[in-house]
Amino acid sequence: MFLPDKVTGLFLVGLGAASMYGGSLLPPVPGQQVGPNVFPMVVGGGLILCGALISLGVGSALEKEAEADLAAHSDQQEVKAGTPLVDAFKTLLPPLLLLTYVMIGDRLGFVVCAFGIVLSVSLAMGARLKLALPLALIAPVIVHLIFLKLLRVPLPPGILPMPW
């Protein structure tokens, strides 16, 4: 998800403008000169300025220097050259799994969902089934035991309630 500075800079300009507009819509506090609108507008103005400077390429030389420094001092692990689509899917997998859990966690329960999360992340990272399956069976149960029993976090029981 590498984007050119022009794109990220212009995105920040847009975000800053939205923040200023959103701020300007906020109602003032009667009898006071400064209200809740001031801060978002100041921040929005700053974002517009920074976004514009970034899209003009200000300061990018310094960034390259720092990167070269790091590369010279250690073996940074190279990103494997996989197909871009597969890589993008793998990268997005952890947040997607968490969002799925939010949607179906109450119905299916923690242990079942956690089994799915651990198994899919582990397989996506290239683990063999021999490792991924036992891990996905054991880890959720231990996490459930610790969080529900010791820390008293109300994890949803769902279709597979645990005996504790």
Partner: protein
């Protein structure tokens, strides 16, 4: 004083606190030594557990886990040339050169020994600096707090090892995030888009877990497994360390002082301290040509520096609630949660807790030597744990841990969204630490800004007329203008070069 000290010892020597120190030390050593898992991530994942501990035990877990993780990041750096935490990256080459020469025990010995000394000296600086500063800070009004917070935010952007404009943009993004919700001086819902979940604002801890832990997992998804460590028998780890201590007094003093200063600067933490110290060591050395070939000087200086910065990072955090680095940004959240609200009055009203904190720091750094040696000896076994077995469990802990901080599934959404934001930002050169600082300090900046404006009846003059405020204002403005000056200087140089060519 004596009574306070006795009370502090009583607090620390409670069985739950001692157990918390031991367990979190082991946890910190293990997480720090795994490449790709940083000390900040180790700390962020611990926060949900601290919910259920006593205040002192909670702070103890954060202190010991972070100190151990910063040291143990040196282990894979020395043995595999892959730094375990970013704080070890500056001197990984030097440490690995020792391994190539067949003397990894010397490099690891230097790392553990001088890290522990650096940590203890950093703690002494915290003990010496904090009380007089607290006394001064008691006289501060909202005007000073406003400039102090601004200066803190600007420091974080100035010292980021990246493009300063991008760092300022990240910080502003953090401030914008802190605008969400009704936590503003007027209590008006802002940017909530009608969602009741957003009314309370973005919770800091799930956001931190997302930015520091989940985004690291996302990066790890497409990276290959680190190479396996060959089983190796180590000689004596601490042999010769005393001789080195006597041989290189100046690098130690310099490393500790630089570490302390960088630690105190808001937002700049252990990794920055290590980079600055390593390059300083090379510049001042009588034998700079030996650097990179397995020479102790730079290792001693940088290894001491990053651990010294850890303790001094607590100075602005405890006094003003301004995080000294990303780890203390998390610690501040824990302090608030446990009723130890940062501020100068902490040193007068809860003096015994503060002494307890110092004792924990010293204890953790002493403990680092034996535990660190055990960790080094077990390294080849522990480092062989496949990444594909660790990362899935971390994803699970990110979700459950954040849920546990408020028993609300919206917190898991926060983790996922901030994981994505952190990943995209890091990939495009926007330092996430600056954003985190913005999120943590946003409310404080706004509160002090609005309250000051109300007090001054809308006039900006009192912001500059009070003596301390005027100094802080001048420093802040200089920090804002720095990137502009740098850019103009660079432009002038290229134009000059083009003309002379």
């Amino acid at each position: 004083m004596t009574a306070t000290l006795i009370e502090a010892f009583r607090l620390v020597l409670a069985p739950d606190v001692l157990l918390a120190i031991l367990l979190s030390s082991i946890y910190g050593l293990m997480v720090g030594s795994l490449p790709g898992l940083s000390a900040t991530m180790a700390t962020a994942l611990l926060v949900p557990v601290t919910f259920y501990l006593s205040p002192i035990a909670a702070v103890a877990t954060i202190i010991s886990a972070s100190a151990m993780a910063i040291f143990s990041g040196d282990i894979p750096g020395a043995l595999l040339r892959i730094p375990g935490t970013p704080a070890s990256a500056a001197y990984t080459d030097e440490a690995y050169a020792y391994t190539r020469k067949g003397e990894p025990e010397i490099a690891l010995g230097i790392c553990v020994w001088f890290s522990a000394i650096g940590g203890i000296i950093g703690t002494l600086s915290l003990m010496i600096l904090a009380p007089p500063l607290a006394e001064m800070a008691l006289n501060f009004s909202t005007f000073e707090y406003f400039w102090l917070a601004c200066l803190g935010l600007m420091c974080a952007t100035m010292v980021a090892r990246s493009n300063p404009v991008k760092a300022i943009a990240s910080m502003l993004l953090g401030l914008l995030v802190s605008c969400i919700g009704i936590e503003n001086p007027a209590g008006t819902p802002r940017f909530t888009f009608g969602s009741t979940d957003l009314l309370g604002g973005i919770e800091v801890i799930p956001a931190l877990v997302g930015v520091f832990a989940l985004s690291e997992v996302m990066r790890g998804m497409t990276q290959p497994e680190p190479p396996k460590l060959p089983p190796r028998r180590f000689g004596s780890i601490l042999k010769g360390m005393w001789t080195l201590t006597k041989q290189y007094p100046w690098p130690q003093v310099r490393g500790n002082i630089v570490g302390i200063i960088i630690g105190v600067l808001p937002g700049a933490g252990a990794d920055m301290a290590a980079w600055v110290s390593y390059s300083m060591s090379k510049r001042f050395s009588k034998t700079p040509e030996k650097f990179g070939t397995g020479h102790p000087e730079g290792l001693i200086e940088a290894g001491a520096s990053n651990n010294a910065s850890l303790a001094s990072g607590w100075v602005p955090s405890l006094l003003f609630g301004i995080p000294g680095d990303t780890i203390t940004a998390i610690a501040i959240g824990v302090l608030y949660m446990k009723g130890l609200n940062p501020g100068p009055s902490l040193f007068t009203e809860k003096a015994s807790s503060m002494y307890a904190l110092y004792i924990i720091f010293i204890l953790a750094n002493f403990l680092m030597i034996p535990l660190g040696i055990i960790m080094i000896r077990l390294a080849s076994k522990l480092l062989s744990a496949p990444r594909s077995a660790i990362m899935p469990v971390i994803v699970l802990l990110c979700g459950v841990g954040s849920f546990a901080t408020g028993n609300n599934s919206f917190l898991i959404v926060t983790v996922a969204v901030f994981g994505l934001i952190g990943f995209v930002m890091e990939r495009n050169g926007y330092p996430v630490a600056a954003m985190v600082l913005g999120i943590v300090m946003g409310t404080m900046v706004e509160q002090s800004f609005i309250t000051s404006l109300i007090k001054s009846d809308g006039s900006l003059w009192p912001f500059f007329s009070r003596p301390v405020a005027s100094i802080l204002a001048a420093l802040t403005i200089a920090a804002v203008l720095w990137p502009v000056a740098y850019w103009a200087w660079g432009k002038a140089r290229t134009v000059g070069a083009a003309r002379s060519a």
